[in-house]
């Protein structure tokens, strides 16, 4: 499950799932949903993503910003996010995954560009069996 939430100048994004991998994937969906309606985007091409970080919160920011980088460099929108694993390493964490989407084109009805994922409102937490991942994105 994902949602966006209010922030005065920008937008908040939140992903919820039964694992941290799912919460991170859902959070990515929330971010791309600010830019485009996800149903418009077919999963035609895939890109691999590996990011590392010293803690889970930073890992979320790194993951989201990596997706923004891939969006610009490949001129693609993504609508599918599969995180194979978030692994605990000796120093911090590593995320391995694949993202799916298609090239940008003029027929797509775009919304507002996300400039970056930020540390503001940044939280990755577990409540019983549910994981939540959220932050504010700069738009």
């Amino acid at each position: 499950m994902f949602e966006t939430f209010e922030h005065k100048a920008d937008m908040g994004i939140r992903g919820v799932g039964k694992s941290r991998e799912e919460a991170f994937s859902e959070c990515a969906k929330a971010m791309f949903s600010i830019m485009i309606d996800l149903e418009q985007i077919e999963k035609k091409e895939e890109k691999e993503v590996i990011v590392t970080s010293y803690d889970l919160e930073q890992l979320l920011v790194e993951w989201l910003n990596e997706l923004l980088y891939l969006k610009d460099v490949h001129s693609m929108f993504f609508s599918g996010f599969e995180i194979k694993e978030i692994k605990k390493k000796r120093k911090g964490y590593e995320l391995n995954g694949k993202v799916f989407g298609e090239k940008m084109n003029d027929a797509q009805e775009v919304k507002t560009e996300v400039k970056a994922a930020t540390y503001s409102g940044l939280r990755v937490e577990r409540e019983d069996i549910i994981w939540k991942a959220q932050c504010i994105v700069d738009v």
């Binding site: 100048a9 930073q58 610009d72 940008m104 775009v110 507002t112 994922a117 503001s120």
Partner: protein, 483 residues
């Protein structure tokens, strides 16, 4: 709750408390002050007042942690904030620059009156929309390789002028001559560069725009004349920044500065105030990368100005030299400037976040043509509302490190705005007022509806009455191109 001390009618001080190394200070009327206090009283709310205090805890801040009348919460430092720091004791912080490095406004004056432009406004809107790439995913006509992008990073607007985008004279009327010294391509990641190859000469989305406006009111005849402006004259204003290059620099250094501040043992109250001592290797690297962002934004606006001139040429058959640049000024910058500290001139690092340089008369940084009057400051309104040209003052030099407001600031979240209005409805209402909006994203228009912003008039008045920047002309929009 913070006890405020009223220094002057529009100046409020947050006395030094806790870990603050200097007091805080902001400009505002009673309403702005009360809103800030109310915001701070709710612990769950983002609070600009708390952020002013957090900035005041950084080492080496000169005089006070400052905010102007358009202040609102940002990342780390407030938007509308200014920090001047001692070069030996002080730090350079991500929070006081942000992701949209040198987002700013460039204004050009056309030889046409309001009436002449209004007759062809539909045609002009189409031409501008055709020439200026706008919106998410748009790419520029300019395709750069790495060596060329490095030229943009080092030489800013000067480089693109040499490539035929605009006039040499434009550079004289750009802050820093459109090229800040000391930008190092080696401090910009490959990722940042790769994102930028196709983006020079693009507007972006969100609150960025290219607008055709006319001079509705003249407040200061002498200054208006010096800036080359007459009543009913048509102007073009371009609001955008360094695009993804700046965003990626922000992202990259957020992590690097986090390690640096731990290494140097600097305590911060909010994660986005990550920083490094100005003199340290990490601080110098970040400063160099910020300058890269600054130059890229100058180049970006230079190319867009060229495209706007092309659109005018297509509709009115006007030569590019007949459209003269009034000024180009950045909002999110870090620069070394000389200011009066304890009665003496001293070089300090001035970081402006959602704030504009507004130098007073006599400063050598102000173009010679304007030097006796003071530097022009462009304050952008929102679609359908007024914008202003102001001039810097001596009082501003003394009190605000020659800084002033940049715009109105939001009063309503994007979510709330899209719930309240539909893009089509905003377009229709503005059309009834004679304003044409063209946008790549109709949904984005709802987010940027004029009523989602505070009235720019109030913040302009506060700074005018406080004597920091004075009103020169008021502008009204005719055509607005958005992402």
């Amino acid at each position: 709750m913070t006890e405020l001390k009223q220094i002057e009618e529009f100046v409020w001080e947050i006395p030094k408390q806790g870990k603050m190394t200097v007091p805080g200070r902001f400009y505002g009327n009673k309403q702005i002050m009360e809103q800030l206090v109310e915001e701070e009283s709710r612990p769950e709310a983002w609070s600009a007042l708390r952020q002013i205090k957090n900035v005041a805890m950084l080492p080496g801040v000169e005089k006070y942690s400052l905010a102007l009348a358009d202040v609102h919460p940002g990342y780390g430092a407030p938007i509308g904030g200014v920090i001047a720091s001692d070069l030996q004791e002080g730090v350079i912080t991500f929070g006081a620059v942000g992701f949209d490095i040198n987002c700013g406004v460039r204004t050009l004056a056309t030889p046409f009156t309001k009436q002449e432009v209004k007759k062809k406004k539909e045609e002009l809107a189409d031409a501008l929309f055709k020439h200026i790439p706008a919106g998410l995913g748009s790419t520029g006509k300019l395709r750069l390789n790495e060596a060329e992008l490095d030229e943009v990073i080092v030489n800013g607007a000067e480089y693109v002028v040499k490539q035929g985008y605009g006039l040499k004279e434009d550079l004289q009327f750009t802050e820093e001559g459109g090229k800040i010294k000391g930008a190092g391509p080696e401090h910009v990641s490959q990722k940042a560069k790769k994102r930028a190859f196709k983006q020079i000469g693009t507007l972006g989305s969100g609150n960025h725009y290219a607008e055709v406006q006319f001079v509705e009111e003249i407040f200061d005849e002498e200054a208006a004349k010096t800036y080359g402006l007459e009543k009913e004259q048509t102007l073009i204003s371009i609001h955008c920044g360094s695009r993804a290059l700046g965003h990626q620099i922000g992202t990259d250094y957020l992590g690097k500065l986090d390690s640096a501040r731990k290494k140097y043992g600097i305590e911060i109250a909010e994660r986005e105030l990550v920083c490094a001592p100005i003199e340290s290797e990490e601080g110098q690297e970040f400063f160099s990368a910020v300058k890269a962002g600054i130059n890229t934004a100058f180049a970006n606006r230079q190319v867009i100005a060229h495209l706007a001139r092309q659109a005018f040429a297509e509709v009115f058959g006007v030569g590019e030299k007949e459209i003269k640049q009034v000024y180009d000024i950045g909002h999110n910058t870090a620069k070394i400037e000389k200011h009066k500290i304890l009665g003496k001139g001293k070089n300090v690092l001035v970081q402006r976040k959602g704030s504009t340089r507004g130098f007073g008369p006599g400063r050598e940084e102000v173009p010679e043509k304007y030097r006796s009057i003071g530097q022009p400051v462009i304050v952008g309104g929102t679609m359908g509302t007024s914008s202003y040209l102001l001039k810097g003052t001596e009082k501003g030099m003394d009190e605000t490190f020659g800084s002033t407001i940049h715009g109105a600031g939001r009063s309503m979240s994007r979510t709330a705005a899209t719930k309240k209005w539909k893009g089509e409805e905003v377009v229709r209402k503005l059309k009834e007022k004679g304003i044409i909006i063209k946008a790549r994203s109709i949904k984005g228009i709802a987010e940027e509806a004029p009523d989602a912003y505070k009235d720019v008039v109030d913040v302009v008045e506060v700074m005018h009455k406080a004597g920091i920047t004075e009103k020169v002309v008021g502008l009204k929009p005719v055509v607005c191109i958005k992402g």
